[in-house]
């Protein structure tokens, strides 16, 4: 009744091609953003920011990056954590080595470092694909794990192996309190999500999807595999690297390579699968799901009066993740995003379905 586009006529190509062609979607999005920017900072507690909102935003950004590579371009990657690490350590090096480096420039440069390495590790994708490539990306993961632990130069010769940043500010505004951190992450994520959405619905995105669906056929109809694959690796690594920088600088403050271990890579892959392969919206759903599930598993039994040990909670979490991944692959390969769009389809007809 409320969600119906009857009478919304498009009279120009511009109007027909906008991101959200339905008025209700636009209104809902503006309302959501207003809520996120204005209401949430007033309502949420400090714990809520630190434990849920900030990780959710940053991991969403990383999931968008990974989704571009896996969901849109079909190049499976098990080394996302590595690119996050490169983004974080790259940004760190620019930040501490250059006097007066602005935070945003450092983060972007971290993203650029990740892009360069991402393209390097993407080069094998021209020759090998699918399962073989998945293992090749693991090489990136193990190599960076080792490099950031053993090569002192990357950590600015810190004796403990961990690095830390402080005194963050953007254009003179400090980024210290959880609210400020949240707003900063939210801004970055909104900009990046918009960029990603526009990329995937343009000709670059179509080239990626053609590669994903059948690369040989795509090459035959004139899509250059080199451009399509390497641009997917570049864009994906940039977003992932940026997210890595945010994770280190804004969320953790001080970190060591273990923050970007192979578990992080798998976690991000699960976000993409559960959220929805090939969907920007799905990246947010997946991130929300995976950030919330462990909290849920830890809290609910205690609330019901059946406290469980930490170890058991961790094992339960692994089991539930595993079962859910299989479940989603079987029942809904397009993840939560597909459920969302099904719900919207139903709403269009409600209350008079055919």
């Amino acid at each position: 009744m409320f969600y119906r586009e009857n009478g919304q006529f498009k009279t120009s190509y511009r109007a027909d091609q906008q991101i959200f062609p339905i008025t209700q979607d636009r209104v809902a999005l503006v309302a959501l953003l207003a809520f996120a920017f204005l209401v949430v900072p007033m309502l949420a507690s400090e714990y809520f920011f630190r434990a849920i909102l900030i990780p959710f935003l940053i991991l969403s950004l990383a999931a968008i990056g990974l989704n571009i590579l896996v969901g849109y371009c079909g190049q499976i990657s098990l080394g996302t954590g590595a690119f996050m690490a490169i983004g974080a350590y790259g940004a760190y090096n620019f930040f501490v080595r250059i006097e007066g480096m602005p935070l945003i420039v450092a983060l972007v440069m971290g993203g650029v470092c990740a892009t360069v390495v991402g393209v390097l590790f993407g080069i094998p994708s021209l020759r090998i694909k699918g399962l073989y490539l998945a293992v090749a990306t693991l090489a990136a993961q193990f190599f960076t794990d080792w490099a950031f632990l053993r090569i002192k130069w990357f950590t600015n010769d810190s004796s403990s192996g961990s690095v830390s940043v402080s005194g963050l500010n953007v254009l003179g505004l400090p980024i210290e309190t959880p609210v400020q951190r949240y707003l900063f992450c939210l801004t970055v994520v909104c900009i990046c999500a918009l960029l990603a959405k526009n990329l995937v619905r343009g000709h670059i995105g179509r080239a990626w999807m053609a590669m994903r669906d059948m690369d040989v056929a795509a090459a035959v109809i004139g899509i250059r595999p080199i451009h399509a694959k390497l641009s997917a690796f570049a864009v994906s690594s940039f977003f992932v690297g940026l997210a890595g920088g945010l994770w280190g600088f804004v969320h953790l403050g001080s970190w060591e390579p273990a923050a970007f271990s192979i578990d992080r890579s798998f976690q991000l892959l699960f976000m993409v699968i559960i959220g929805g392969l090939g969907s920007i919206m799905g990246s947010f759903f997946g991130a929300a799901f995976i950030v919330l599930l462990p909290l849920f598993i830890n809290q609910v039994p205690a609330m019901l009066g059946v406290p469980i040990s930490t170890a058991l909670a961790a094992h339960l979490e692994a089991m539930i993740f595993g079962a859910l991944i299989v479940f989603f692959l079987i029942v809904e390969p397009h993840g939560l995003a597909r459920l969302w769009s099904t719900a919207k389809e139903k709403l269009r007809l409600w209350p008079f379905p055919h």
Partner: protein, 309 residues
């Protein structure tokens, strides 16, 4: 020279164990086209089951003999692995027939997590011992040729022999039994095999059970060397470059790949490691495999990949 040979032998024997885990991958990939990321979790699960059953069962029955306990543990663990194979076929693979390789790979990632969590919930997550009575003393050979001789670990030697025996058994099984023939037929062409009356689902259960058996043997050997604990599932990450190097579809490839990776890893750690700051074992195998893939994308013995539109 003596030191070099010692490193070489050490590498060969470690490589044999990698090959054992890699074998599980290859078996499953050959017969069902699934890149089974869960092989490492299966190794952990099998080893946990064996360690715990070998401890529990004698306590229930009041048995004393260690041999009987180990045999019982092994047998019950094998029953568990067949159960796992059946569950995987019934609830995962059977529902994902005809999906793309990437989907199946991700499904096995899910299985990995589930098995890790499940195994540790049921069997506990401490460090457990598997004591199959392997001699721990080092062995010195060729003492007349080199000063001080070459140090060999008897444990590694026996492990390598067990692994070699397993590989030979599997090769014979595939070559000469009716089931083995059916497995090879399925590997060549699912549809053709099905149309001449080979039941796919039963074949898959058998393949996963055989892979479970390989996992159990690997888990038993690694477990008796290092103790059974979560890090065991990481061994599979070592086996991945092995399969890639050897070619996904080749049993000899898994073995030769394992030996190459084992030797390369040990030699690089000893001779190149100090220059780079040590610990390069972690990534050396991957970089080696990656470099090799650039030259020969299908691996050493893999089938040539042909794309058709």
């Amino acid at each position: 020279m003596g030191f070099f040979l010692e490193t070489l032998f050490g590498g060969l024997m470690a490589g044999m164990l990698y090959a054992l885990v890699a074998l599980g991958f290859v078996l499953i990939f050959k017969a069902s086209g699934v890149f089974n990321f869960a092989q490492g979790a299966m190794v952990l699960f099998a080893a946990l089951a064996m360690a715990r059953f070998a401890e529990w069962v004698p306590a229930w029955l009041g048995l004393e003999s260690k041999l009987v306990a180990n045999l019982l543990g092994f047998g019950l663990a094998m029953v568990c692995m067949v159960g796992v194979a059946w569950v995987i076929e019934r609830f995962v693979l059977g529902k994902l027939v005809n999906q793309e390789g990437i989907t199946l790979l991700m499904a096995t990632l899910g299985i990995t997590y589930f098995l890790d969590g499940f195994g540790q919930t049921v069997f506990g997550s401490d460090i457990y011992k598997i004591d199959i009575g392997m001699p721990k003393d080092p062995l010195f050979i060729l003492e007349s040729t080199f000063e001080g001789g070459i140090l060999l670990s008897q444990e590694d030697l026996i492990a390598a022999l067990i692994a070699a025996a397993l590989v030979a058994t599997l090769a014979l099984f595939f070559q000469y039994t009716a089931t083995g023939r059916a497995l090879r037929a399925v590997a060549d062409d699912h549809q053709a095999a099905q149309s001449i009356g080979i039941p796919l689902s039963r074949i898959w259960v058998i393949v996963w059970s055989v892979a479970g058996f390989a996992a159990l043997v690997a888990g038993m050997i690694w477990g008796s060397k290092l103790g059974v604990q979560f890090s065991l599932s990481q061994v599979a990450l070592k086996a991945l470059p092995v399969v890639i190097l050897g070619g996904l579809t080749s049993v000899p490839g898994a073995i030769i790949g394992g030996l190459i990776i084992g030797v390369g890893e040990k030699l690089s750690e000893v001779y190149i490691g100090p220059m780079l700051g040590g610990g390069i074992e972690i990534w050396f195998a991957y970089v080696l495999a990656l470099g090799f893939l650039l030259v020969r994308p299908q691996g050493l013995f893999g089938e040539k990949i042909i794309d058709r539109v």
